[in-house]
Symmetry: C2
Subunit: 353 residues, 2 copies
């Protein structure tokens, strides 16, 4: 069993006492960092970074060199699984992720197979091992995946969508077919996250980016049920340590009690939720991660500190809070404002512990 030098993230996720509130930032290795853009230029593009463990390790470590972050997150994409299924992930300039071969025919759906992560996602598993070595047990490494429903959205739509017309038409018109995709995706996510855990991920997070686009009953049936199944299928311990899990449904503030009941250790909150109200709703069942509006980082340092204070005060006293943004950091964020954020969380949160 390895001993983490800074285990505040793990302890907060397990609602154990910590001297301060740990903080990390979704998409902390990203385009707001000049050194990231330099590495990306060398790699050619975003996928070139993801698929090369040397580059993935290099960019994962970059924000840790600048800021006193309490966690690293493996540099990867939420859509690696459908890419490993053969759908052909690519990134069109300014348009977000797309698939060359989205699911259009029923036979394509029936042919979907759960990819073997040690073969088709080897580059992620290797990156996890390599990043763990680079981290030298300073802070924990978070592994992650997209949620089954979020993967299905991209697999069916072929890219981002404003109205999710194709996936929702299938949901209402052919629910069994969508359930088939979600079943495959769930088994794939379980295998993938367990492979990341075996390679050294010390916590895992599931990004349910599009679950919040669903109607209430549809969310429960087509997203939450599969999130629950994944949590039940994850390795609980590795190398003598508990591996906590975080579930983040963006736009899921209405369903917090339900998400908190599926067995995960932490629930991610977007910025629309009052984190104090969220804590009262979920009680001590789970830790809460979030939830500063990423746009706060466009403002000057004194304002950032004030907004950090408000989130900390809303959460209140005691452990169980992992500070983060309510969404990935914007590429337009001044890098020095992230230092303000991290230092403010560490300094101002001590009074709450």
């Amino acid at each position: 069993m390895t001993k983490l030098k800074n285990d505040t993230l793990i302890r907060a996720l397990l609602r154990q006492p910590t001297p301060y509130t740990p903080v990390w930032v979704m998409r902390q290795a990203g385009r707001y960092l000049p050194e990231y853009n330099q590495t990306r230029a060398r790699a050619g593009n975003f996928l070139g970074l993801c698929k090369n463990p040397d580059y993935a390790t290099e960019v994962t470590m970059q924000p840790l060199a600048r800021y006193a972050l309490d966690a690293a997150i493996v540099f990867s994409d939420i859509l690696t699984i459908p890419d490993a299924m053969g759908l052909g992930l690519y990134f069109a300039d300014g348009e977000g992720p797309k698939f060359e071969r989205p699911l259009r025919e029923e036979w394509e759906i029936r042919n979907l197979r759960v990819p073997d992560p040690s073969v088709h996602l080897r580059y992620v598993i290797d990156a996890v091992s390599q990043i763990r070595r680079a981290l030298a047990d300073e802070v924990p490494l978070i592994g992650f995946s997209g949620s089954p429903f979020t993967l299905a959205c991209y697999m069916i739509e072929g890219g981002a969508s404003a109205d999710f017309r194709l996936v929702k038409t299938m949901l209402y018109q052919q629910p069994a077919l969508l359930h088939h995709i979600l079943d495959i995706n769930s088994r794939a996510v379980i295998d993938y996250l367990n492979a990341q855990i075996e390679a050294g991920a010390q916590a895992v997070m599931i990004f349910d980016t599009w679950g919040g686009a669903l109607a209430d009953a549809a969310y429960r049936e087509f997203s939450l049920a599969y999130l629950q199944r994944i949590i039940a299928g994850l390795k609980r311990e590795h190398d003598g340590a508990i591996i906590p899990s975080i579930v983040f449904t963006k736009g899921g503030g209405l369903w917090l009690e339900d998400i908190a009941a599926i067995g995960c250790d932490g629930v991610g909150l977007d910025w629309t939720v009052n984190i104090g109200a969220a804590r009262r709703r979920v009680g001590d069942r789970v830790a809460l991660q979030g939830n500063l509006d990423p746009a706060v980082l466009f403002a000057e340092p004194a304002i950032i500190r004030g907004q950090v204070q408000q989130v900390l005060d809303a959460y209140g006293h005691g452990s169980g809070h992992i500070f983060n943004l309510g969404h990935g950091i914007s590429q337009f964020t001044p890098p020095e404002h992230v230092a303000t954020l991290v230092d403010a969380v560490h300094e101002l949160s001590r009074a709450h512990h």
Copy 2:
């Protein structure tokens, strides 16, 4: 005082008994209707329809000729006010609304004036009068406006935005400047809606399309407070009838109790909210409007009926429900599916009254 032949919408908004649940559809005069597209082609474009009272009347009446809808809504756009302020509204193909002269400099903001609706928005007021004559008191006419914050988003960003970077930077960095814009916008919305009421609008609705993009505290300060001010400034009666108001914050499900407390008669719900849970939260303070997922209308009639039944059952027994979609109808909706929807609401809701 004129007597409406079908006053179920007004009665439901005032939580008075009705024999069935009234139904109308957001964006019911829209691109899914072939006759709408024909009129639009004659008018040249969308703004040509809005700005000509004859065309606006023609397209407002089109869905009423096809379906047994319980209300008409004046054909217009949520952004007429900033256009009347001189910002130059236009529609780029496939990109949604844009402004030629978005607010970029503080002096431009300080120069903003509340437009006189009888001058700069004359075309809307004339359309309201003309549509009322065409309706011949069959069903009530709903007037509407965008919310102060939603108008400000477009005025500052210059168009739709994924991250609201400019408006949120102002919100956190220069809150007094944004409050100045919101103050002007609120006074403009009050004058505009009261002018619509005087011209014959029998209910009014405020579309807070982007309030749901705000952090909890920011929503209260920068959107809800101004919605409350508008409700307080609206004419309560005209021509011997009460004029009910509806407030719809898309993505506002977390704030329903707060929205229900600002004095409006009805609260619009998007499809992510369970309407039964919403009713338990707001009690009998307000009527609820919504909230079928617009994507349900892509499915076949039997499925549409089943989903309508679920929304009706979730709301439960009694008055106070106005059936609608949880968002504007998609242009890809088969027109005959709207007939299925309207007829299903009328038929299936009788058991609930």
